[in-house]
């Protein structure tokens, strides 16, 4: 009964249109700011979620750009390696060391004769994408295992064999063929070993030998040139990270362009999400202002009535809680409606993206709900402090 009477006394003076405008302003602002949070959450999930990436880590081969300044000086110094290792977006760095001796490879078979000079590279096993069972080297054995890039076999099968009229070779067949590998001392004397391809790599585009063999061979046959690596493999969770790409650029380094290209799209998405955040925050500020003004106007327009109520014995506390009940529920309703709308959109988006094999959560993210709660608290505080300020007698 008291509420009904208070409502009749207080609401008669305030404008309906202004109230509707205040509510609409608030709704749009909340929609923008909460959508921004939800988009950010979706985006993070797409980037780091398990369902969307094949492996949690990615490997990039990084080397200095070869240009007029860096010709013959592309090796990476200890300092540079240390710096690279200390970057937060790099989880590991594996040196690719090159052989420092002359070597050649030739076939045993006279029906398929070939001979070529060759150089090897090596990298710690953890940085190689395959771990074949024969990838072992023993000093006393005569056998050297090799991993070659997949690309080499493709070049042979789809270019060379066609042009020369040779038969195509399957990876399994190639793995069964032994080659003669000649290693040369610095004085020109040669020692021969048997080599065999044990696997094909997609990651590193060179002929690789086990690290232990490389260390041994460099010591024995090496010509004591620099032992600093020219190339390294880096392990990173996110090759599209704009920070990583920027770092590489600033330090004159290059990496597989294909993997880092995503970084550009991410910068664009980041910018869009950022704009949405700023717009939402600005709108929220304005909406709060509108709502504050609306409350002020309502109170100002029935100041006499409020004064009389207090004269008759209504306590300021009673009036404050009544006014709070008048204004705050609308804020709550708006927030709930906006959350429901965003939840609906998220559900639609989930179904739509599922068809494209992109997997999102069908529900609102926790951060969106948390943000909504924070916004409600801010609204509550703004409502309360405005009412408190204007119900002074």
């Amino acid at each position: 009964m008291l509420k009904k009477l208070l409502k009749k006394i207080i609401s008669t003076a305030s404008g309906r249109t202004k109230f509707v405008m205040a509510v609409i302003g608030l709704s749009v602002a909340l929609l923008l700011i909460l959508s921004a949070v939800q988009i950010q959450a979706n985006y993070n999930e797409l980037l780091h979620g398990k369902t969307n990436t094949d492996s949690t880590a990615n490997f990039l081969v990084v080397n200095k750009q070869v240009n007029n300044q860096t010709i013959n000086a592309t090796s990476l110094s200890d300092e540079e390696l240390k710096q690279l290792q200390s970057q937060p977006f790099i989880d590991g760095v594996g040196n690719i060391s090159a052989s420092r001796f002359k070597a050649s490879i030739e076939s045993y078979s006279s029906t398929f004769p070939f001979y070529t000079d060759i150089a090897f590279e090596t990298v710690p096993d953890a940085f190689i994408d395959i771990q074949p069972k024969d990838w072992q080297w023993d000093e006393n054995a005569d056998f050297i295992p090799l991993i070659i890039p997949n690309m080499f076999l493709d070049i042979y099968n789809f270019q060379f064999s066609v042009s020369q009229g040779y038969p195509q070779i399957t990876p399994d067949v190639l793995k069964m063929i032994s080659f003669k590998i000649n290693l040369q001392y610095s004085n020109g004397q040669k020692v021969s070993y048997t080599g065999r391809i044990v696997g094909f790599s997609d990651r590193i585009s060179s002929v690789m030998v086990p690290l232990s063999f490389m260390e041994w061979a460099n010591k024995r046959f090496g010509n004591s040139l620099s032992n600093k690596p020219s190339r390294v493999v880096i392990k990173t969770k996110d090759p599209g990270n704009p920070e990583l790409v920027k770092y590489l650029q600033n330090h004159g380094l290059t990496a597989d362009a294909d993997k880092t290209r995503f970084s550009k799209y991410r910068q664009i998405v980041n910018a869009i999400v950022g704009v949405s955040w700023v717009t939402g925050a600005a709108m929220l500020l304005f909406a709060l202002l509108i709502f504050t003004l609306f409350i002020q106007l309502t109170i100002a327009s029935c100041k006499t009535e409020i004064q009389l109520l207090i004269t008759l014995g209504a306590s300021p506390k009673q009036l404050k809680s009544f006014l709070m009940q008048q204004f705050f529920p609308f804020n709550l309703i708006v927030t709930c409606v906006v959350l429901i709308i965003i939840a609906g959109l998220q559900y639609v988006l989930y179904h739509f993206l599922q068809q494209q094999h992109i997997f999102l959560q069908p529900y609102l993210s926790l951060s969106t709900i948390a943000s909504a709660i924070i916004v409600v608290l801010v609204l509550w505080w703004v409502n309360r402090s405005t009412i408190k300020k204007y119900i002074r007698i």
Binding site: M1, L2, L5, I9, L308, L312, G313, A314, P316, Q318
Partner: protein, 215 residues
């Protein structure tokens, strides 16, 4: 409830009042619980001002006023509200009704501002006694002064109180209605064992006053 005045004098009227003799201004005066007091006051002597001091609507006075031995200068707004809801009721000279509420709503709001003292039917009963049943659902702003005055009287009586302040409560009523209103007020005050202070320009004998004072 007891109200005690201690050397009070309204600041705007200080010059005029200091050279006059008065039972109230610049004296000690105690209004005890259950005591019915009439204050006769010629125009311009600060009658309404005094009532507003009693009710804590104005503070421009020198001296002290005590509500149950508590100096009113030390009471905060929320406590004032509680006293007005529970102990102190008033009939204003200028009535102070909400023009856009009906007569009944004007009365009702004072009934429900606190835990109601009487039932809603009691309003009808009192309205019947004062002859304003027919205008209960009419907007207060459309009622005559006489009707408004009776609405204001009933409004003051539907809340709990120990002390009733009345500022020329019958100024717009004819003798017949004055008597009916006085009877109702006397009955309600007796029932509650409440005190009252009524101000008037002239002498009258509407109530069995314990004391009569001159402002």
């Amino acid at each position: 409830m007891q109200i005690k005045l201690e050397n009070i004098i309204p600041i705007p009227l200080k010059e005029n009042l200091q050279h006059r003799s008065s039972d109230i201004w610049n004296t000690h005066q105690v209004f005890n619980a259950g005591e019915w007091v009439k204050i006769k006051a010629p125009s311009g002597t600060g009658k309404t001002t005094l009532i507003h001091f009693f009710y804590q609507l104005r503070f421009d006075f020198e001296g002290n006023i005590y509500w149950d031995n508590i100096n009113t200068k030390q009471i905060n707004v929320d406590s004032v509200a509680i006293v007005r809801q529970q102990k102190l009721s008033i009939v204003f000279q200028d009535l102070k009704l909400f023009g856009n509420l009906t007569a009944r709503e004007n009365i009702e709001i004072n009934r429900v501002l606190q835990q109601p003292y009487c039932t809603s039917e009691k309003i009808d009963e009192m309205a019947a006694r004062l002859g304003i049943t027919s205008i209960l659902n009419q907007k207060a702003s459309l009622c005559s002064y006489g009707e408004q005055q009776r609405i204001a009287i009933i409004r003051a009586l539907v809340q709990p109180f120990e002390f009733l302040l009345m500022d020329e409560p019958f100024s717009h009523l004819d003798n017949n209605n004055k008597n009916k209103a006085a009877e109702l007020i006397a009955a309600e005050c007796s029932e509650r064992n409440a005190a009252f202070v009524v101000t008037d320009l002239d002498d009258n004998n509407f109530f069995n006053y314990h004391r009569k004072l001159i402002l």
